[in-house]
């Protein structure tokens, strides 16, 4: 008989009961799915990006289905940090899972404002910095420039005690370089990847499928891109990496852990299956039990790269 595998992992000082988090922007403020999904089955939840003021978002249409994925151009429509603290935190404080709040903004001062307001707020376990939303022009491309990314992180590092997770965009030449710079600036972890910039056209009308013309691609279609990003980041940094991109099953989560992730976030899958996160955690546990893996920690970064002499000769 196998014993229950140990699913706990650590993101810095924060211990999670399992490595499965709900991804920002796909889980609202917790209460929407909390009506019919047991949130304590998650290792944690990451709430929708907050800006200082309520934000109207982009013109519709804001989503389009593509092959094994979807495009979105929501444009950070959110209630603003004050309404979040007033209206959403009383519920979230009583949820029995780690609470990670995603922080956004235009200029640095807006990130600073949101971070300061949240740091004064009891019940938050960590902040994830949205340095990389592809749907907002002006300012939110911090994670495409290593120097600006580091400046943002070190500024926020100096004003909060909360663990900081830098969420990175894949829309760069070298995501590992950005990860290195935010680690040096004091990030406790990095999460990757945000959506890939994408576009779809209605050839009948010759119009873009999204009101904002381009948007971000998510879902199973981007999983290999995300696994590669996690692998490359994990080989360059020593802080935990949180893998995001197309995870729909426990096996997908194992793949990310083996590639170097300490935890994962489930996003688009939740739209399809509201219990996708708990289901990933459960099937991850089942996989570990069957595979005689006693702790998921032993999976992290356990990738076996064949040495060149073992590899078959391949012309490329």
């Amino acid at each position: 008989m196998t014993t229950q595998p140990d699913l706990t992992v650590n993101i810095g000082a924060l211990e999670l009961r399992n490595p499965v988090l709900a991804a920002s922007g796909t889980f609202g403020y917790g209460s929407e799915y909390g009506r019919f999904v047991d949130l304590s089955d998650f290792g944690g939840i990451v709430t929708k990006t907050l800006t200082p003021e309520p934000w109207p978002g982009n013109p519709p249409p804001r989503a389009a289905e593509t092959a094994a994925g979807m495009l979105n151009s929501i444009g950070l429509q959110n209630v603003g940090v004050e309404a979040f603290i007033r209206d959403k935190m009383p519920y979230l404080r009583n949820v029995d899972t780690a609470l990670i709040v995603n922080v956004g903004g235009g200029p640095v001062e807006e990130f600073v404002y949101v971070t300061e307001r949240l740091s004064d707020c009891e019940g938050i376990d960590a902040l994830e910095i949205n340095m990389s939303c592809p749907n907002v022009s002006g300012g939110m491309d911090f994670s495409t420039d290593p120097r600006r990314a580091a400046e943002l992180v070190s500024t926020l590092r100096s004003i909060t005690e909360l663990p900081l997770i830098a969420k990175l965009t894949p829309n760069v030449t070298d995501i590992a370089e950005i990860a290195r710079s935010v680690e040096e600036a004091g990030a406790d972890a990095v999460s990757a990847i945000n959506t890939l910039r994408g576009m779809a056209v209605d050839i009948r009308t010759r119009r873009p499928m999204l009101g904002a013309v381009t948007g971000g691609l998510s879902g199973p279609a981007i999983k290999p891109v995300a696994v590669a990003a996690v692998y490359r980041i994990a080989s360059r940094v020593s802080v935990p990496v949180i893998g995001i991109g197309g995870i729909m099953s426990g096996e997908d989560a194992v793949e990310f852990l083996v590639a170097g992730a300490t935890a994962v976030q489930v996003g688009t899958a939740t739209f399809v299956e509201p219990r996708a996160g708990p289901s990933v955690a459960r099937t991850l546990a089942e996989w570990c039990a069957v595979s005689e893996v006693h702790s998921v920690r032993s999976l992290i970064g356990s990738i076996q790269i064949p040495s060149p002499e073992d590899a078959p000769c391949h012309p490329s």
């Binding site: 889980f27 109207p56 982009n58 249409p61 804001r62």
Partner: protein, 302 residues
């Protein structure tokens, strides 16, 4: 937010049959959803077979990926069965049409905001375009169940491309609803737009048009808004949208609404061609899945 519980069901297909060219009726066994459903509610379903005994990878089972929203067209609380109407318009509905009696469909519901009930002594007109007829079947059925209101106080103006797509009109006649038809190709009823019928009805029997409901293609609903505004009639529209989550989370299925202070029906200044992320106080977007799909007639900018 509504207090009606959201249920997720592996609903058994009791019937899935073609009722017109490319037009289908599906009956699903889901007692909890059926019990709580009201006219205007919708369900969010996965068209493909996602049962876990499949050896295919999760993502492959979930192709196409997203759920599809459908208005509840009819319900039988005793049997725990509700019906939906759909037309094959893409990959999801094409797969749904291949699903057989006895198979299971993953359904989430009932979702959304519902219609104002038909009030005794306030005759209503329903304007339906194509599969937009679905929620009105539900409205008529509920009205007939209500001993105070009468289905005879209801008129439906039902339009579609061709006569074969109007097959559900029979159900309205059975309830004693006044039925007028329109087709684009003239195969039955008025040869032209269903909104022409609305203008005729307002001119000939204004007393039978005290309240208006509309559901169908956007140009049809826009014209209904204009006609209702000119005639000074209140009403509601039922919308659809590209709807990834269906429960108010993803913020994708939004519709522009007149901001407070703007004239009813006035376009939000920046709804068209606004720079992504631009701040604007004249713009307000509401989620079709939780603020709708039923909205007050003049509230939305179509």
């Amino acid at each position: 937010m509504s207090t009606i519980p959201i249920c997720q069901y592996d609903a058994e297909i009791l019937a899935n049959r073609e009722i017109g060219p490319g037009l289908y009726w599906i009956d699903l066994l889901a007692p909890e959803i059926t019990r709580h459903a009201l006219p205007g509610h919708f369900v969010h379903l996965i068209a493909s077979d996602v049962s876990e005994d499949s050896s295919r990878q999760t993502w492959l089972r979930h192709t196409p990926l997203l759920r599809r929203p459908f208005s509840i067209a009819e319900r039988d609380p005793e049997r725990g069965v509700f019906g939906l109407i759909y037309r094959i318009v893409g990959g999801g509905t094409e797969i749904l049409a291949t699903r057989r009696h006895g198979e299971k469909v993953d359904v989430l519901g009932p979702l959304g905001r519902t219609f104002e009930p038909v009030r005794p002594g306030r005759p209503v007109v329903m304007v339906a375009g194509g599969v937009g007829v679905a929620p009105f079947l539900s409205l008529v059925q509920e009205t007939a169940r209500d001993r105070r209101a009468r289905a005879a106080d209801m008129t439906i103006l039902f339009g579609a491309a061709t006569a074969g797509l109007l097959s559900s009109e029979e159900k309205f006649r059975e309830y004693g609803v006044d039925v007028r038809l329109a087709t684009d190709d003239g195969t039955t009823g008025h040869h032209g737009l269903v909104t022409d019928l609305l203008e005729q009805e307002l001119a000939s029997s204004p007393r039978r048009c005290a309240y208006l409901y509309a559901c169908g293609p956007t140009p049809m609903m826009r014209r209904c808004q204009e006609i209702a505004r000119e005639a000074g009639i209140d009403g509601q529209v039922s919308l659809e949208g590209i709807m990834p989550c269906g429960v108010g989370v993803c913020m994708a299925c939004v519709v522009a609404c007149a901001a407070p202070g703007l004239a009813p029906g006035a376009a939000p200044g920046t709804a068209q061609g606004a720079a992504p992320g631009e701040r604007s106080s004249s713009r307000r977007y509401e989620r079709v899945c939780v603020a709708g799909p039923v909205f007050d007639m003049q509230e939305v900018v179509l």
